[in-house]
Symmetry: C2
Subunit: 228 residues, 2 copies
DNA sequence: CCAAAAGTGTTACTGCTACACCCATGT
DNA sequence: ACATGGGTGTAGCAGTAACACTTTTGG
């Protein structure tokens, strides 16, 4: 009943859209390919699915290879199957996006892989269908950020309200009113206010906050909840 | 730089979660497998990706094979890659969900494939990881229905307000107030009220409506828009 | 004392929720 | 005449949007 005549064994690749935040803009990590095909062009980091490996593990492995990081938030974006997306051989690719704290990312690895951070709007054209993958990932990130507290993955453990606001402004490409933003965040009751201040950005200094995952779990929320 | 040692050519399957609505409950179409492996068990409809075929086309082909329908709303849900999900051979599967008008679906094909509609809550256990696929698809459908007018795909062209409300109650498994529902729908300004009445469900008869895709396009909407 | 960023409250408006009665019709 | 489902409006409430001034402190 399955029709086996035409079925084809093919390569399954995994490509990662790695998002970071530098305090100003939402960025993605790209590498300048040092190998064929398309040597010298910019691309997402990627690799092939191994035997005895599930997709999520492959994405984690690839992310670790290029960033040295573990325990990173990742989500599957989708699977892209254009016939000639890879000129070498029929290859289908599943895209994942990852949210990392840009500060944790080593310069050494960046040099090793000719990797570079680009702001989402100013990124160069990418190989294959990677631009499409980035667009989809960005859309998913924006949607997800409306209902889940994933923004904190992009910030250091301790952050100021201003940083948090800048982050959401960057994710949605909007500008928000600082009073409304703060009162909304406070009403969610998912942050712990610390006694420390960050003095780097002003003479007065601004209080640091920390995301409290325990509080988040216990607070009751309705269907469309976060809506920062 | 890509590590080619371990990469593996594998089969890529496509499985379809076919949603329908009978006026009461949200349903999915399942087939009783007439072939090995797992002959006699219930499963989603599926098949393998062909050479020179993109995933979306494969999903469309499979849907057509089992329902005879064309031009159907489909959306990719995700790709499932558990190592032993298929006992025969390493197979990764991309799931799509489809929304069809249950009335358009032929009894003949149902007999041919031993297919049957089950309400989402009362479906039997499925083979492989198909239960997981259904859960994911349902989640996606629920989210999507909050912001996009996809419910109409599940209804006949002309429908009553009551049918529309029943549909959304079934999708989200909630009960809604009929006055609030109607005024919310009206405020969206995406329906055309017809002069016809449907007399099957009451003596008085209830007006029929039609989704107006043109209106939908022109009406301006904000970020979180439909929220029926 | 001044520049620069932090921090804070109130009001108007919009949209959502809750709620109950009359209408039209076929039998 | 009555049973059945269809159709309608309003008032309270909650959450959002708009808006400007005071505080702190290093130089």
């Amino acid at each position: 009943m399955y029709d086996h005549t035409d079925k084809e064994r093919l390569l399954l690749a995994v490509d990662c859209i790695i998002f970071g935040f530098d305090g100003e803009k939402l960025k993605i990590l790209l590498i300048k390919r040092g190998f064929e095909p398309e040597r010298g062009k910019w691309s997402l980091v990627g690799g092939f699915l191994h035997k005895s490996e599930v997709l999520h593990d492959a994405a984690t492995r690839i992310l670790n290879r290029y960033t040295g990081l573990d325990d990173i938030y990742m989500e599957q974006v989708g699977t892209f199957s254009d016939i000639d997306r890879d000129p070498e051989e029929r290859t289908v690719s599943t895209a994942y996006y990852a949210l990392i704290n840009i500060k944790n990312h080593s310069q050494k690895l960046n040099r090793q892989f000719s990797a570079q951070w680009f702001s989402v709007e100013e990124a160069p054209p990418l190989i294959f269908d990677h631009d499409k993958m980035v667009r989809h990932a960005l859309k998913r990130l924006r949607t997800k950020a409306e209902t889940e507290p994933i923004g904190f993955e992009l910030l250091p453990e301790k952050f100021t309200m201003r940083q948090l606001q800048n982050l959401y402004e960057a994710i949605w490409n909007v500008s928000l009113d600082k009073r409304n933003f703060i009162s909304k965040v406070r009403s969610l009751d998912i942050l712990e206010k610390l006694d420390e201040k960050d003095k780097t950005s002003s003479r007065k200094g601004s209080f640091l906050y920390r995301f409290d995952a325990e509080k988040y779990k216990t607070v009751e929320r309705n269907r469309s909840s976060l809506n920062l």
